[in-house]
Symmetry: D2
Subunit: 345 residues, 4 copies
Amino acid sequence: MGASFLSDNAAGISPPILEAIAKANAGDAPAYGDDAWTRALDARFADFFGRAAQCFLVGTGTAANALALATLCPPWGAVFCHEEAHVAVDECGAPELFTGGAKLVALPGGDGKLTLDGLRHSLAGFRVGDQHQAQPAAVSLSQSTEAGTVYRPDEIAAIAAWAHEQGLLVHLDGARFANAAVGIGCSPADISWRAGVDILSFSATKNGAFAAEAVIVFDPELAKDLRFRRKRAGHLFSKSRFFAAQFHAYLEDDLWRRNAAHANRMAATLARGLGRLPGVAIAHPVEANEVFVHMPDTLAAFLRQSGFLFHDWPPAGSGKRRLVASPTTAEADVNALLAAAARHA
Amino acid sequence: MGASFLSDNAAGISPPILEAIAKANAGDAPAYGDDAWTRALDARFADFFGRAAQCFLVGTGTAANALALATLCPPWGAVFCHEEAHVAVDECGAPELFTGGAKLVALPGGDGKLTLDGLRHSLAGFRVGDQHQAQPAAVSLSQSTEAGTVYRPDEIAAIAAWAHEQGLLVHLDGARFANAAVGIGCSPADISWRAGVDILSFSATKNGAFAAEAVIVFDPELAKDLRFRRKRAGHLFSKSRFFAAQFHAYLEDDLWRRNAAHANRMAATLARGLGRLPGVAIAHPVEANEVFVHMPDTLAAFLRQSGFLFHDWPPAGSGKRRLVASPTTAEADVNALLAAAARHA
Amino acid sequence: MGASFLSDNAAGISPPILEAIAKANAGDAPAYGDDAWTRALDARFADFFGRAAQCFLVGTGTAANALALATLCPPWGAVFCHEEAHVAVDECGAPELFTGGAKLVALPGGDGKLTLDGLRHSLAGFRVGDQHQAQPAAVSLSQSTEAGTVYRPDEIAAIAAWAHEQGLLVHLDGARFANAAVGIGCSPADISWRAGVDILSFSATKNGAFAAEAVIVFDPELAKDLRFRRKRAGHLFSKSRFFAAQFHAYLEDDLWRRNAAHANRMAATLARGLGRLPGVAIAHPVEANEVFVHMPDTLAAFLRQSGFLFHDWPPAGSGKRRLVASPTTAEADVNALLAAAARHA
Amino acid sequence: MGASFLSDNAAGISPPILEAIAKANAGDAPAYGDDAWTRALDARFADFFGRAAQCFLVGTGTAANALALATLCPPWGAVFCHEEAHVAVDECGAPELFTGGAKLVALPGGDGKLTLDGLRHSLAGFRVGDQHQAQPAAVSLSQSTEAGTVYRPDEIAAIAAWAHEQGLLVHLDGARFANAAVGIGCSPADISWRAGVDILSFSATKNGAFAAEAVIVFDPELAKDLRFRRKRAGHLFSKSRFFAAQFHAYLEDDLWRRNAAHANRMAATLARGLGRLPGVAIAHPVEANEVFVHMPDTLAAFLRQSGFLFHDWPPAGSGKRRLVASPTTAEADVNALLAAAARHA
């Protein structure tokens, strides 16, 4: 009894993805991305995004983010991001390493979102063109956000339009891109290039893959150094076909959508149920597959004793917890958690 | 008809490894290496090496090498390696990136091996302690070498003993470690810590895995920064269990040995057959799973027309070719190639 | 008529320092610091600080700061500093370059000072030992601060004691060290090693030198890599004697103290005079040689028309201005400015 | 009795340069290069080179070289240079730090010169466009060379023309630029932009300045990031006027030419005298201000006992010595050395 809501990273591999890996394991294939699976990825992503795109496979979301930022930003550049952004607080300096020392400017913002006002104010604090200072170069957004919310296409478009006016490029950390797109019912294009995103970290790992991460670039000019950056980061895989095969399985037959829809539905059910309990408050709108909720320590302890796993969330002592649903989250486990919580109340 | 001898990287995944991945795909598991599979790796490698060891999983051999060198060598350090070493010529500057700018000192040496004389002579050219120069910090050996030969335990021990006397640490690039150990019939310990190796890039990918690479450290003191270096390189995998499971399958039931023995035997057969042909000369002793051979352009062209794939090898115009055998190389294909070559002659 | 209060960097060279350079220009001397002047610096600084110290000459304060931080902090480290600190906002990423990518954590604090509460709160936001995050490594203080105030010995000691308990080392950016020491009437030791400072950027440039900057280290163990770091930063000067000679002239006969006392007195006079005017408010206690003052745009414009130069200070539109006094600031110019301001009022 | 021929770095400051510093010390001047002296440098150098140029003052030749290479070369680039080049063996990894990890490819060549054949052969060893390898980006020449010889305009032009055809840019390390130009009687243009040099490290320090080094860029497009790179290297000096003033004094009234002509003449006299002695052999043509000479240990020891200082030169045990003449080398000292040597013979 009990179940894990620790992270979508804790879930296993969706069967179609595992099968695709097995199926790709027939005979030899050229190494380092010259195989048929990897070569077909650009077309696959072009189809997914409705626009020509270049796909650079890498091993982790951290690598995708750091390489994407290095593509947008010189060593003396500054990148504006949310103060809870993965690039700012969870990557042990990978963006700094891969950019050669760029500065992440961490900004506050409700429900995990950057605001235009916040960006404008922060940019105003920089002396653009002054050699004494890091130079503003990019904006990085997380979709879904670190608060489990989702930027609407017009929110991204407003930020991107302003950014481009200011000479800044736009990165989207799509660690939960599918959950976001499904969560607000929009197309992949709507929350990426069509809204002004220049470069994208696209992840399937949290949504049912083994390890499938990519930097997606819409402007070929931007992409021209990426293969060198990737190789020297140690992220060019020799048996690339098995990484590419994951993405093919993920994008065809709408696996990405089905997985995300399930996870999002489970999160919504959790949120609905928990939100009704006395003393419990949902902390942010639940728009993807993460639920942030304030609950008393006694309830949290009771749920854990009942076998349910989830993280306490900062700030320490705030009573905030995070529960994440994944493609493999069982509805029965969600109901069991809600039943236990109701019992406690 | 025909077959690929391009690279052991072109081969697929050994069934026991694929099964281990599938088997690890049961239920949730903590992310980022806190799962049971990853936690059991240190013990697994301790058993393999006959000595306590720490294992740091990473995605590629390039990452393993670069992180290992960064562990041994300050940003102003110098690393002595063979002029054909992977770290020197095939990693697009990954060692330079991860060390923060260390210098690779590329030395010549017959059959892909560094020599003590060569090392002594090169070290003598450095002014140790002089702030104007990069400071000698490490020696990096490839096992098997880039020429397909294998350092004997006493060769490594002699170099390592000298290195340690000089205050240098010793790295072994074990991209084909299993092929080397099997090739000369020695234990993993004999060509690693027992011979004085301080840190090891240990690869299973070329010998039947999907993507299984690790930095192995024998001295816990040396290892203490590695998890930070790995994370900021983007090489900490969220679903670590599926990488760890590959190593468990690889090391138990001697899969590593069986795979390497097969590949080595196929290479030996190739070498024996090719070496008998007129106008063909084996370039280096075939001691692992790679065959370097001089053959006329007409023979090479004929073999390729017959469907056999292999690389020309530098220097350009030398008539040198490389044929690599893998765990999945079929004896029938080897024989077919030899028959075709004989036919041409 | 009129005068510049733009910066102490705008002032010239004190005659004794220029004379010392000329005097050192007799005959040949070994290059790269093996000359008598440079060799005598450690003893000179030991005398100045009352404790053995190692002095590493560099060309600029930015270099001193960045090399000092690189000495305290690994590439994945984090350095806590004030949000207006020079290292954070005025060095175009030099600390990031020289540390290899460390993170500057910029904290607010009244009158330019870090507070223990602010530091504690910020540190609490880090997961120490967690490989996903930059690891807290150091605290950097500016003395005098960017607001022209001076940390008292007990303020530094309290921060340093806490820092050391937490495993953090302490850097002091002494761009205006002499002004600070003279400003509060304490000894050099009182606001450096005796208060717990581990490493110090010591500048004479702003206080009458040509270009005299140094990293001062009290713990020989800390210092051991600095000469390599300095050389690869391009900060080992061939004709080192002419840089060293500046420091000798600066430290002997109390030139440092006389220059700072004059500049501080001029700043105090400015502040006293301006503070009496209607509509004018001194923004921070004037404890060294900088005056931050809120004044109406009309007054600022009038003073500038009268030939007086000074900077507007952020935030833009706040009416804040900075006036800096230097060793060469003439009392007559101060009085002239005050007279003009009074006339305008 | 006796004199130093250790290095031109050991010499003092030429009186006109010291006077220019003193003269610039009148009143305040804007900091960080906005002063009149620094602002006039581009025009000064345009006059010197006969073509528009941008001048970036830095503190040392190492900084100039490393920043110049960082301007030409991406982090995954390769720079071809002579195996004795200062950038390769005497800068403790500064080029690697400032480029972000580029690779210096050190090539042999008689009399300290790169050859077209050597460059062609080395380039042929690179797989251009292949993501696995560092990518050829630049050629770096030293003028005069590390062997005291001077590239003729047509030698530079041949290398530069080839380099440009191959997509490589050309750097000239002009640590002894004046000695070279004077040594072969050509104009500054002849051995720089007119011969195809794209970027230049221009030094006056070895030829009579205190510390006057600059990166000179002929193509404004190339120069656009340099001021950011310089600042984050800590090489933007606050009292820039005193560095700029040195160059003005150096370039006006032909001080550069007079100083170099004297030093070169002294070197020629030394070489002529020493070359006549039995058992002594001049190692390389003496074309600038350095004399490389093979002499018996007994003669070297005798000269040193007689008070003359000079360096033994690698390779150790070869009997090679280096004697360097400077603007302050006295003809009497040269004659005294020659007399002593003759006495010993």
